[in-house]
């Protein structure tokens, strides 16, 4: 499905073989489903590779539960940006919050 600037596009499909089943089938313990960019998009077009994991629903829930939040993985970054943010930006945030509230 093409990614079209200015227009959300969506695409559904139902995978029938999970990654782990496929690993058994192919006898390749490192097998992964790969997602490839198909519409020429510039210099790095050929390198736009993503891995897609097809999992059983229960396994997926387990996996989600075991994930750490981004914040806990990046404490340092978070603390630093909080410091920057707290001083001069706070007033601006407050202002935008009030605007949002009033518009609601």
């Amino acid at each position: 499905m093409d990614a079209v600037p200015g227009m959300p596009t969506s695409f559904w499909f139902t995978p029938t073989i999970s990654t782990s089943e496929m690993r058994e089938k192919t006898g390749n313990s490192e097998f992964n489903y790969e997602l490839a960019c198909t519409e020429v998009c510039g210099r790095g077009h050929f390198a736009m590779r993503f891995l897609v994991m097809v999992d059983e629903p229960e396994e997926y829930v387990k996996w989600v539960a075991s994930q750490k939040s981004w914040k806990s993985q990046n404490e340092e970054y978070f603390a630093e940006s909080l410091k920057k943010f707290s001083s001069n930006e706070r007033t601006a945030v407050k202002a935008s919050n009030t605007i949002e509230h009033s518009s609601l």
Binding site: M1, D2, V4, P5, G6, M7, P8, T9, S10, F11, E30, F31, N32, E34, A36, C37, T38, E39, V40, C41, G42, R43, G44, H45, F46, A47, R49
Partner: protein
């Protein structure tokens, strides 16, 4: 019958001239010529130049695909800075792919094919002194030349030529920041295409006018050779669709240079928001493919017309289903305008709309199958003469069928989700459009070379050229189907980054070797062509014992084509092996009354009309 005797007119024109009948200067005779035969040769030689260049580019990117680990430093003298540390620059790879597509589709198979054979054959086969407007015809070539020069120069600029694929989809092509090729290279691409469209339209209008108005006496529409029908319909398609590409290019120029947002919506580049709002890149795709799909048939139909003529001549049989052939040309032409969105199944189009375009697309299989069937039925039990032109024509039928079958698969909106923009598509259109049209073009050159240059091409070299090219085309493009089904996308600089595709390294290497051999074999043809112009065997007046009018002209037809009166036409062009006739062919200019033994009952009736026609003309 509307005929204009240009010969008479030109004499009247010369009456005002002090030096009547003076020889034209070299410049006017060979460079800025208004003679359709010279213009045809100009188109042919330009087309061959572009074919070598465009084909050569594909060799360079096949090297990259087939031998991803190879050191390409030896190409440095040719490609300079585009080779970095022995590796090809990925943007240059995209530039090569883009230029290869643009050159092959437009400069070789549109200008080189239609430009050559429409110009050469229309006046000769319908019985006209020249094109309706020799001047427009000359302009058509020189606009094409200007377009070629612009495109050629763009290859040598520092930022490289256009590199967004030959379909130049925005936003990639619209934003100079997106890649280096989207800068000056893209501007030059658009300028070149604008000039090309002007050239194509001037040519097409001329072809249509000539065919409708300048046919000789007796050349009714249903006595026209199928070549002429194909050229006529091709020109009509061109006139209707090329202006749409022009508008698409114009809007893209506006988006690129004047800050409009026809194709651009809200976009960020490197964290910077662009000013554009509300445009749609899908609009471009609609406009582009409204030309782009008919363009496929602009490329293919002339080749099919040439093939019809060559297969009938060399089977020594009338073409099977003459009217069905004309009908299928019109069917294909009509359908070509209402299937363009099958290139856009995965752009987020409504699946219901997709199913309509799928239906219309699959309907094209019907007229195409009629043509394929008729070719085979014409060959059936014919006294086939295997000239190189005939072999290439039969080769065309073969690649047309095998490439066309995959069209049924790709035309299916559901299957297209997997196959879209993969090598399956590349395989499909290189067979059905690329190879088929190329075969038709080469067949035409082999067949009409004697008429063009008064000499024959060497047959043995022709056979070698054919067999290498025929097997080569299959060896190159057939394996691509497998790579494509596995999902390998087009325009990929390298396949080694993916586990799924790296297992096809051997197959890619095989394709590259086959491609290089096939490309190399084309130089046999180039050699044959150049050698035979000067040293080829001299031809007889009608070397293929053909029926059409071009073979009634002198071996070296001068300006005006026929020295005396233009021959009249009394029969259709496919009276081959007519029962009762002494020869196995009766040219179109032989009256029915001259061959009474071969006339069918209804033709015997027509003899009376013919005699009446003669007595009327005598006064």
């Amino acid at each position: 019958m509307a005929t204009v005797d240009l010969h008479v007119q030109s004499h009247e024109g010369h009456a005002h001239d002090e030096h009547a009948h003076h020889e034209l200067s070299f410049l006017r005779k060979y460079i800025f010529s208004e003679d359709h035969k010279v213009i045809a040769k100009q188109f042919l030689i330009s087309g061959m130049f572009w074919a070598i260049l465009g084909g050569g580019m594909s060799m360079i990117f096949r090297l990259q695909l087939g031998f991803p680990d190879a050191n390409l430093d030896w190409l440095k003298p040719l490609l300079g800075e585009w080779i970095e540390n022995g590796k090809m620059n990925p943007e240059f790879y995209l530039a090569l792919v883009t230029m290869h597509g643009t050159i092959m589709v437009f400069f070789v198979l549109t200008a080189g094919l239609s430009g050559t054979f429409s110009n050469f054959l229309i006046p000769l086969q319908v019985g006209a002194r020249d094109m309706a407007s020799g001047f427009l015809n000359m302009l058509s070539y020189w606009f094409f030349f200007a377009s070629s020069v612009t495109m050629f120069c763009s290859i040598f600029i520092e930022t490289g030529p256009a590199s967004g694929g030959w379909v130049i989809y925005p936003p990639l092509s619209a934003l100079p920041q997106a890649m280096s090729g989207s800068g000056l290279g893209m501007t030059m691409w658009l300028c070149s295409m604008a000039l090309f469209i002007v050239s194509s339209l001037l040519g097409s209008i001329n072809y249509i006018t000539t065919i409708i108005n300048l046919r000789t006496k007796g050349m009714s529409f249903l006595r026209m050779p199928l070549t002429i029908w194909a050229f006529l319909v091709t020109a009509i398609i061109g006139v209707l669709s090329f202006p749409v590409l022009f508008s698409a290019a114009l809007l893209l120029i506006f988006d690129r240079s004047f800050g409009t947002s026809f194709y651009l919506s809200e976009i960020y580049i490197a964290g910077e928001a662009l000013h554009n709002m509300g445009g749609s890149p899908i609009l471009f795709q609609h406009l582009f493919w409204f030309l782009g799909h008919p363009e496929v048939y602009i490329v293919l139909l002339p080749a099919l017309g040439i093939t019809s003529e060559i297969i009938a001549t060399n089977s020594r049989k009338p073409i099977f289903g003459y009217k069905a052939m004309i009908g299928s040309i019109f069917g294909i032409a009509f359908l070509s305008f209402i299937v363009w969105a099958h290139h856009m199944f995965v752009t987020g189009m409504n699946p219901f709309l997709g199913s309509i375009f799928m239906l219309l697309t699959l309907v094209i299989a019907v007229p195409s199958a009629v043509k394929a069937f008729n070719y085979i039925a014409t060959l059936w039990r014919g006294n086939i003469v295997f000239t190189p032109a005939m072999l290439f024509s039969i080769g065309l039928v073969s690649v047309f069928i095998s490439g066309g079958l995959t069209g049924l698969i790709l035309g299916n909106a559901a299957l297209d989700i997997q196959l879209h923009d993969t090598y399956f598509v590349v395989a499909h259109f290189h067979l059905v459009m690329g190879s088929a049209s190329f075969f038709g073009m080469v067949a035409g050159v082999y067949h009409w070379f004697p008429k063009m240059f008064g000499r024959m091409l060497d047959e043995r070299l022709g056979y070698i050229h054919f067999w290498i090219t025929f097997f080569g085309a299959y060896l190159v493009f057939f394996p691509m189907h497998y790579i494509g089904i596995a999902g390998f996308p087009r325009r990929y600089y390298s396949h080694t980054g993916f586990d799924a595709f790296s297992s096809f390294a051997d197959l890619n290497e095989f394709i590259s070797i086959a491609a290089i051999v096939t490309f190399g074999a084309q130089f046999i043809f180039v050699f044959n062509f150049i050698y035979s112009i000067f040293k080829g065997r001299k031809t007889s007046l009608n070397p293929w014992h053909s029926n059409t009018l071009e073979w009634t002209t002198p071996i070296h037809p001068g300006h005006g084509n026929w020295p005396g009166e233009i021959p009249h036409v009394y029969r259709w062009p496919y009276d081959y092996s007519k029962p009762g006739a002494s020869d196995d062919f009766i040219p179109q200019n032989v009256p029915l009354s001259a061959k009474p033994e071969s006339n069918l009952p209804h033709e015997a009736e027509l003899v009376k009309d013919e005699q009446e026609f003669h007595s009327l003309n005598a006064h």
